[in-house]
């Protein structure tokens, strides 16, 4: 349910961008939410779509990229894919894993229209 708060944060960031560099609407919003970021993509999309009417995001296409989880295995000393938190190293089965990718939660860019 925190996706509603995140959507609010995204809208604030878009409005702040419009104050710096005015535009009338966003045609496409590109986000990045890694598979280990603790965010439900479906819920985030829903929250954004619910929030959009009457704002700069009205009618915007929302693209959410999901960088896959990556971790450094301390025992194998290699980078391994991590499908979810709590999963073991695919090489050694151990859990000494430091996530190195897939934790991103960012706004990448906006495609905007000036009139």
């Amino acid at each position: 349910m925190h996706e509603v708060s995140l959507a609010g944060g995204i809208l604030s960031a878009v409005e702040a961008a419009a104050r710096r560099d005015p535009f009338v609407r966003v045609s496409r919003l590109r986000l990045e939410a890694g598979t280990l970021a603790g965010v439900e993509i479906e819920a985030l999309r829903f929250a954004l779509e619910a929030l959009a009417p009457g704002t700069l995001l009205a009618g915007a296409q929302i693209d959410i990229e999901q960088p896959p989880g990556q971790a450094w295995c301390l025992d194998c000393a290699i980078s391994v894919p991590l499908i979810e938190r709590g999963a073991g190293c695919p090489q050694c089965g151990g859990f000494w894993l430091q996530p190195t990718g897939g934790t991103e939660l960012r706004i990448l860019d906006l495609q905007v229209e000036d009139h």
Binding site: H2, G38, E40, R85, F95, V112
Partner: protein, 337 residues
């Protein structure tokens, strides 16, 4: 309240409205649903004349800036701030009341304060105030978590800061700025009267307990400026909760296994629970206790009074591996020596 979008209106979410081709849900052989397991969605830009504004900014950036200011403020005053997180019903408030009373007995002069987060009611703050410790209730309304700005606001209304100055605290740096704009009666000097509290692990000059909204999902993402998160799990819950809510247990510095006085009546497998927690977070520290009969409370108080030190099990593991490497190198090099 609508559980799909979190809004307060009574509208319906018609299943036919869901865009079938746009779904990230995967259904497995047993019919269980897995969200967020799909391939990375790569977008194809259209042929629009529109321009692109690159933002490249963290969605939680605004919260993180407030959290950083809170942390700076807590550290400068030697306040140990802990963010207590759990499911509803794990016994957080009872644990907090026992903890406050026990701390009062051990260190009568240690300034304490509590911030209570709930969706509604002042019940919990009232329970805390009955122990004599000042408490502020934050009702989040529809919100499922506390955020850093709420903490800034609540902290500025608690008497903890003034109590620290009354106890002779001076700021570490004249550059330090206060969140509240009220004039303070303290002397700003560069002297370090509390030189012990600047670093992680020293004995704190005061303690702030932040009891987050009972929820093991959302509060994991919001940094409040705390020294560490303490996840409380009670033995009346499932032992696999660390695996079911891995983000929270991965983010926690300490896990408290509460209500252990009930173990004789339950089938709870303690070892399995601890293994699951370490699987998700090899660094996590664990204390087993019963807030009701006081078992384990001393270990918890010792940890608090030591400044909630993080144990770097990873560093210990690296040192172990380096020693092993050195031994193997010596073996390889020995014949040539």
């Amino acid at each position: 309240m609508c559980v799909v979008c979190g809004c307060g209106t009574g509208h319906s979410h018609d299943k036919t409205e869901a865009p079938a081709t746009d779904s990230d849900v995967q259904v497995d052989a047993t019919g269980d649903l897995h969200y967020g397991a799909g391939q990375a969605r790569v977008s194809v830009p259209g042929m629009s004349q529109a321009r692109t504004i690159r933002l490249e900014q963290d969605i939680l950036g605004e919260n993180d800036r407030h959290a950083a200011r809170n942390r700076e403020n807590f550290t400068a005053h030697g306040v140990l701030a802990l963010n207590l997180v759990s499911s509803p019903g794990s016994g957080k408030t009872t644990l907090l009341c026992s903890t406050l009373m026990a701390l009062r007995q051990r260190r009568a002069d240690l300034p304490l304060a509590v911030i209570e987060g709930d969706q509604q009611t002042r019940h919990d703050a009232e329970r805390i105030r009955e122990t004599g410790v000042p408490a502020i209730q934050i009702n989040t309304g529809k919100g499922c978590h506390l955020d850093a700005r709420m903490i800034t606001e609540a902290y500025s209304r608690l008497p903890l800061h003034d109590a620290l100055h009354a106890a002779g605290h001076t700021h570490q740096s004249p550059m330090h700025s206060h969140v509240d704009q009220q004039p303070h009666a303290h002397v700003q000097t560069q002297q370090h009267q509390h030189s012990h509290h600047a670093h992680d692990g020293g004995e704190p000059a005061g303690m702030l307990f932040i009891e987050n909204v009972g929820n093991l999902v959302c509060p994991a993402l919001w940094d409040l400026g705390e020294a560490g998160k303490v996840a409380i799990l009670s033995v009346t819950e499932g032992e696999d909760k660390p695996l079911k809510y891995p983000d929270m247990f991965a983010a926690a510095r300490l896990m408290i296994l509460n209500k252990i006085d009930l173990l004789p009546h339950l089938d709870f497998d303690v070892q399995r629970c601890l293994d699951y927690a370490r699987q998700v977070n090899p660094q996590i520290q664990i204390i087993q206790l019963s807030a009701r009969d006081g078992t384990g409370l001393d270990a918890w108080l010792d940890w608090l009074l030591a400044g909630a030190p993080a144990v770097d099990r990873r560093a210990a593991r690296i040192a172990e591996l380096e020693a092993e490497l050195a031994r193997l190198k010596a073996q390889v090099e020995a014949p040539h020596a």
